[in-house]
C-alpha cells in the first residue's frame, strides 16, 4: 500500500470503493505479535507469542479473561485491545445481571463488530487497531471468532493473526479437519505447535508464549508456565527428530505466501478476505 490522496481520514472513500484508513488499521494488526486460536466441539484454545520491548521489561498482556465462558486473544495495538476487553467484560456482567445467564458469544461478537463499525463512519474517530480472537462457549458448543478493525467478524475452526501468522495458518490448514474431535490435550499441543511455527527457528519456551483454554466444564483460564513447559518438553523430543526435514518445507511455503500477498495489494481489497 502506498500513500494517496484518499487516505487522510476514515470518512473518505477512494474511487475504487476502499476506505484506506480502515485498511491501514488492519495493517496494524499484522504488525502485532502472533495470536492463534483453534477449537474442537467442546474446547477452544488460544495462544499468543509474548514479545517484550527489551530484556528489562515485562511482556504485554495479550490474552484476557472476559467471563467464565469467554476469553479473547489480541494482536495489534494492545491498548485498544485492553479497552475492548474492558467493554466485553462489562457487557457480560450487565447481561448476567439482567438475565441471570451467560452472554452468548455470538451476541458479544456482534456487539463488538458494531462498536468497531462506528469508528469507521465518524470523522472524529479512528478505527481500533487491534484484531481479536474471541473464544467462547454457548448452548450450541464451542466457538472461535475473529473480529477485525473493519467491523467484520468471522467464525473459524482455527485461525492465526499478527506477524508471521501465515506459518501458523499453514500448519492449521493442514490439520484443521482433525480438530473437531480432538481431545483437549491434543488441542493444546496443536496450539503450541502452531505458535512454534510463527517463531521460525527461535527456541520455544514457556516464557515466550501464553496458552489459555475454555471448554465445557472448564471455565476460561490461562495455563500456568509450568504446565506449558511440561507440554513443550514432551513433544520437543519427538519434534527434534523431524526438525531437519520440516524446515526446508516451511521455507518454500512462506516464500509462496509472500508472492501472493504482493499481488493482492493493488487489486482486491483486503477486507474481502
Amino acid at each position: 500500500m502506498f500513500r494517496n490522496q484518499y487516505d487522510t481520514d476514515v470518512t473518505t472513500w477512494s474511487p475504487a470503493g476502499r476506505l484506506f484508513q480502515v485498511e491501514y488499521a488492519m495493517e496494524a494488526v499484522k504488525q502485532g505479535s502472533a495470536a492463534i486460536g483453534l477449537r474442537s466441539k467442546t474446547h477452544v484454545v488460544l495462544g499468543c507469542v509474548n514479545k517484550a520491548n527489551s530484556e528489562l521489561s515485562s511482556h504485554q498482556k495479550k490474552i484476557f479473561k472476559v467471563d467464565d465462558h469467554i476469553g479473547v486473544a489480541i494482536a495489534g495495538l494492545t491498548a485498544d485491545g485492553r479497552v475492548l476487553s474492558r467493554y466485553m467484560r462489562n457487557e457480560c456482567i450487565n447481561y448476567n445481571f439482567t438475565y441471570e445467564s451467560p452472554l452468548p458469544v455470538g451476541r458479544l461478537v456482534v456487539q463488538l463488530a458494531d462498536k468497531a463499525q462506528v469508528c469507521t463512519q465518524r470523522s472524529w474517530k479512528r478505527p481500533y487497531g487491534v484484531g481479536l480472537l474471541v473464544a467462547g462457549l454457548d448452548e450450541s458448543g464451542a466457538h472461535l471468532y475473529y473480529n477485525c478493525p473493519s467491523g467484520n467478524y468471522f467464525e473459524y475452526q482455527a485461525f492465526a493473526i499478527g506477524s508471521r501468522s501465515q506459518a501458523a495458518k499453514t500448519y492449521l490448514e493442514r490439520r484443521f479437519e482433525n480438530f473437531t474431535d480432538s481431545s483437549r490435550d491434543d488441542l493444546v499441543k496443536d496450539a503450541i505447535t502452531a505458535i512454534r511455527e510463527t517463531l521460525q527457528g527461535e527456541t520455544l519456551k514457556s516464557s515466550i508464549c501464553t496458552i489459555a483454554v475454555v471448554g465445557i466444564g472448564e471455565p476460561f483460564h490461562i495455563l500456568d508456565q509450568g504446565t506449558v513447559q511440561q507440554i513443550i518438553d514432551t513433544f520437543e523430543i519427538a519434534a527434534e527428530q523431524e526438525g531437519p526435514a520440516a524446515e526446508p518445507d516451511a521455507a518454500e511455503q512462506s516464500a509462496a505466501a509472500a508472492d501472493q500477498g504482493g499481488s493482492t495489494d493493488e487489486g482486491v481489497a483486503p477486507m474481502d478476505i
Binding site: K65, R86, R89, N94, N96, F97
Partner: protein, 223 residues
Amino acid sequence: MPKQQANWSPYDNNGGSCVAIAGADYCVIAADTRMSTGYNILTRDYSKICKLADKCVMASSGFQADVKALQKHLAARHLIYQHQHNKQMSCPAMAQLLSNTLYYKRFFPYYSFNVLGGLDNEGKGCVFTYDAVGSYEKVGYSSQGSGSTLIMPFLDNQLKSPSPLLLPVQDAVTPLAEAEAVDLVKTVFASASERDIYTGDKLEIVVINADGIRREYMDLRKD
C-alpha cells in the same frame, strides 16, 4: 386540602434474624430461613446468606427484594475487581464497598440490615455490622433483624469484654472455639424463635475458616 399521605409503600419487611460471630481464625454467620409478610409466612426455606467472595459472606434481613438487588450489585462489582486486580476482594475491602453501595442510595435506601462476616488478610475472623444507609463498624459479634433485640443482649452477656477500660486491652475478637461459637449461635436462635414470631423454621449456619466455607442446618420452631 390537607397534605396527602402515600397509600402505597415501595418497601415491605420480610422479617428474620441474622447473627455473625468472629473468632481468632474462623467466622460464624447464621440466619433463619423464614420469609414472611405481615402475619403470613411466604416460605420456610429462603436463604438470607450470600457468599460475596472466597472469604467473605453476608447475611441480610429486611426487604428481601432489596437484599437480592444488593447482593447482585455486589457480585457484579466483585467480578470487576477480580478482572482488574487478578485476585479476590478481602473482607475489609468488601466491607467498605458495601458501605459505599448503601450510602449511594441514601435518599431511597436499600431496606436491608446487613452483617458481613469473613476472614481478613491475616486469616483472623472479622464481622462488620451495618445500618440501612451504610454506617458500619468492625465488631467481634453482631445481630440484625426482627430478633436482634432478643439476640443482641444475650450475645453481649456471653461475649462482651467486661469493660473497654480494663487492661489488658481486649481485642474485638472473641476467644471462643469454633464449635463453641456454633453452639452459641444455635442456642441463640432457639431462644429467639420462642418469642419472635418472624424467626423460626430452619437455621442456616455458615462457617468460614482456613479450610474454606462450610454450611450447616438446624431445625427451629415452625410456629
